[in-house]
């Protein structure tokens, strides 16, 4: 019984993709950056609606450029109407100001358009931690609570633009699913 549970858990872990080309590219881009300390500071900035998920993990944080004393942070919105973008920009500025970087600008870009492959593996685990089913290509999530595959779509839209509402047919829990985009 316990073994079965463990193997089931392992199976569920395996469902979460560990690396995809788009995220690998982002990681490489960050590693090549000339200002790793700024990226590290920004690891303390979280999505206002998804506790524990940093802007980096979510794929919103795209680039950091330093020019003398000036810092330019480039972010991209998940969905075009995402109301959290203004707050994220403000949080980025606050975090850098707190670290004594006072000349900070945030630019919102649209290209490349955000997609769920930009989310980091850690970010996907954090979503599962929050009992939000991470995105998968078939838009057919497993229940984040009991891991059952027997789930049903309740509504294509959930509490925010990036989520849909599903229900587990086994444990009956209603849960958010982070839509694949």
């Amino acid at each position: 019984m316990v073994n079965a549970m463990i193997s089931e858990m392992v199976d569920n872990e395996l469902v979460i993709p560990t690396l995809n080309p788009i995220f690998a590219q982002r990681s490489r881009f960050r590693m090549m950056s000339k200002c790793p300390e700024i990226w590290d500071i920004l690891d303390s900035v979280y999505d206002p609606e998804l506790p524990g998920l940093t802007l980096w993990d979510l794929g919103v944080l795209q680039d950091v450029r330093v020019n003398g004393q000036q810092i330019l942070v480039i972010i991209t919105p998940t969905y075009s109407g995402c109301p959290a973008v203004d707050m994220m920009s403000q949080d980025v500025i606050t975090a850098l100001n707190t670290a004594n970087y006072n000349d900070v600008k945030v630019k919102v870009t649209l290209a490349p358009a955000w997609c769920t492959d930009m989310i980091s593996p850690a970010g996907k685990l954090q979503l599962a931690e929050l009992q939000i089913a991470p995105p998968n290509k078939d838009d057919d999530p497993d229940c984040p609570v009991c891991h059952s595959e027997n789930t049903q779509l309740l509504s294509q839209f959930g509490s925010t633009a990036c989520k849909a509402l599903h229900q587990c047919q086994d444990c009956l829990e209603t849960f958010d699913y982070f839509k694949s985009l």
């Binding site: 919105p77 969905y79 075009s80 109407g81 995402c82 109301p83 870009t109 649209l110 290209a111 358009a113 955000w114 997609c115 309740l154 509504s155 294509q156 839209f157 959930g158 509490s159 925010t160 633009a161 509402l165 839509k179 985009l181």
Partner: protein, 277 residues
């Protein structure tokens, strides 16, 4: 809709002078500005209509879904208004363009401004527009204007998802109860009269098509017809073109409904100019 036709026709004469003024003004505006502004107006007006379902949806999930689609459209409108403001270069902001222009200055196509009607009307309109925008944005992503291409790239992902949602609804409504089918058919009949405008090319867009910036709307008509006809015929609905087509939105000639919508949408900025959230 019958009353709309009359209203549009009678007001046409009375507003000849206004129109001349308008024409003079718009002539001084660049084609690119007018093109982007038209798309922005389409998005903001539809967004406002969809948001009117907030707290009025048939059930909670639907309420949330319609509000979320409204949010996608307001996002699209913001990106387009920001770009229009940049193109114009007259120090007008996105908010100035959305909240401080008059009815005649709005150039949205009429289908976006019609009142929400019943749920069937809202969903048929959404279905028609979702099919249209899937075709339109698929072309617009190839625009040689980088900003427009980027906005289209962002919007098309959302629009594909919207269609995934409106299709099952149309299926369910047209094959559901006698009442839901009746209402769906009525909505189709009403909306038929305003879909033609989606495929009209304003004069100022022709040059932009040649330059590879805009999309030739006329070319999309056969694909749209085919898609809608095939989808509806599976529910035993014959969809035929309507001879009578009401147009004028891109030139600022609207139904009486837009004025009412704007008075609501622009209330805050007009009452407290410059008010910030």
């Amino acid at each position: 809709m019958g009353t709309d036709v009359n209203t549009v026709q009678t007001t046409k004469k009375q507003t000849n002078t206004m129109q001349t003024k308008q024409t003079l003004m718009s002539q001084s505006q660049s084609p690119l500005f007018r093109f982007v502004l038209g798309l922005a107006d389409d998005a903001v007006i539809l967004s406002h209509r969809l948001s009117q379902w907030c707290s009025n949806g048939p059930y909670l999930e639907e309420d949330i879904a319609l509000a979320n689609i409204a949010l996608d459209y307001i996002g699209r409108a913001r990106m387009l208004y920001q770009y229009a403001a940049e193109v114009e270069g007259q120090n007008r902001s996105e908010d100035d363009l959305a909240y401080l222009r008059t009815e005649r200055e709005f150039t949205n196509l009429l289908i976006h401004e019609l009142p929400i009607g019943d749920f069937a009307f809202t969903m048929v309109r959404q279905f028609f527009l979702d099919v249209f925008y899937n075709l339109y944005l698929e072309e617009l992503v190839k625009s040689k204007d980088e900003t427009i291409a980027a906005i289209a790239q962002k919007a098309i992902k959302e629009t594909r998802y919207h269609l995934k949602r409106s299709e099952p609804w149309i299926r369910q409504l047209s094959e559901g109860t006698e009442e839901s089918r009746k209402r769906t058919l009525l909505a189709i009949d009403e909306l038929k009269e305003v879909v033609g405008e989606l495929f009209e090319m304003p004069d100022w867009e022709v040059g932009l098509v040649d330059a590879g910036i805009a999309v030739d709307r006329q070319n999309l008509k056969p694909a749209w017809d085919k898609y809608v006809q095939t989808f509806l015929s599976a529910s035993d609905i014959d969809f035929e073109d309507c001879q009578l087509q009401i147009t004028g939105g891109r030139n600022g000639i609207h139904s009486e409904h837009l004025g009412q919508l704007l008075s609501e949408m622009q209330y805050l900025q007009k009452t407290y100019p410059g008010m910030k959230w």
